[in-house]
Symmetry: C2
Subunit: 222 residues, 2 copies
């Protein structure tokens, strides 16, 4: 019944416009009563984003399941991939919703509050992992924001391309950028490689990102 309500809503929104479609219109088309609608969705906005609550719960559970062995930045990047998976499961629906959300300010605001909750879930996990370290909360917030921004940069490109192209590759690339900046690459390296010495010679004024890139290419981590 939940799926039928979502399907009915997304048949009506393009026809009548989101604002002009009432909950009564949706339940009439789905052939159910008003009360059934509100059993599944607190409001009309919620029917537009039917899977975010589940995805948020999955993300929280995934983060809670981690161990101290997990490299924290990698863990939050993997958590962000759960969101991508939700979008990629149903490209047609995701693209349709993306177009609708762009047109309706109320939905845009709703989406921002969902994104904020994902970001807080990632930040809370990182705050726990960085607890007691200098600037732990600050680093946690900055990394969580970076992960969300990188993920959404790739996700939006994919949605703009109408769901063509490989969303996984685009998101992996974007999150790889964040991991290169903030992550601990030693976490992935076999123990015997960890003690190698790398010498980097750089001009004093070289931009930090160039130094980082130089180190990365020396290490063959591209």
């Amino acid at each position: 019944m939940r799926d039928a309500l979502v399907a009915a809503a997304f048949r009506l929104f393009p026809e009548r416009g989101y604002e002009q479609t009432t909950v009564d219109d949706i339940v009439a088309l789905a052939g159910v009563g008003r009360r059934s609608f509100f059993r599944y969705f607190p409001s009309k906005e919620d029917v537009v984003f039917p899977d975010h609550e589940r995805c948020l719960a999955d993300m929280t559970a995934f983060l809670a399941d981690g161990t101290d062995e997990d490299e924290p930045v990698r863990r939050v990047c993997d958590a962000a991939r759960l969101v991508l998976r939700m979008y990629a499961e149903n490209p047609t629906f995701s693209v349709q919703r993306y177009r609708l959300t762009k047109k309706v300010p109320g939905l845009r605001a709703y989406e921002l509050s969902v994104v904020w909750r994902y970001e807080r879930a990632l930040a809370e996990y990182l705050r726990g992992r960085f607890d007691g370290r200098p600037d732990g909360a600050l680093r946690a917030d900055v990394i969580a924001a970076s992960v969300v921004a990188a993920h959404n940069n790739a996700l939006r490109s994919w949605l703009r391309s109408a769901g063509q192209g490989d969303a996984d590759t685009a998101v992996d690339h974007a999150l790889g950028h964040v991991q290169a900046v903030f992550g601990d690459p030693s976490a992935a390296a076999p123990a015997e490689e960890r003690e190698d010495v790398v010498v980097v010679i750089s001009r004093r004024g070289a931009p930090m990102w160039r130094v980082v890139r130089e180190i990365e290419s020396t290490l063959g981590r591209d």
Copy 2:
């Protein structure tokens, strides 16, 4: 009259609650007509954030006034400081609003959409500066999100402390973290220093942030 409306609203909100206060209550206390209210504020939410539109305009103008000589990350950090200044101009009001916003979901959503607009202004500027570079748009989005997250981390600490403490120092420290990660430190260095050579020796598996910290302390950039 605009200030009188804001003052009246913020006298009524703590007394009656935000939801229970109507625009009619506000105009009655301010001694003006309904139409005057809507001349200044499109909605009741807007009276809670009376300075954000001006601040957004100031930020956009500040970014547009920049030259190609500006180090881009420093420029967006300076732009973010305009937001801090707006909050710090009137600590009592800012703290009162912070407490109100935490309690009212609709205001929280409004605030998120304002923050999003600041972030987009910073990202658009950076996209322009990184135009044509590999991953320019991705880097722009990630840096803009990092700047906003760092700024808000410090701003929220200050608001939670009821506006005690030095907001400028806290925000400078937080933005300094972002500049250290993403910025081009050569932009600040006198030309004669730029050609010095720095040698960094590091274990292959050392976390990137430790390498960066090592380079920074070698360069005396703390």
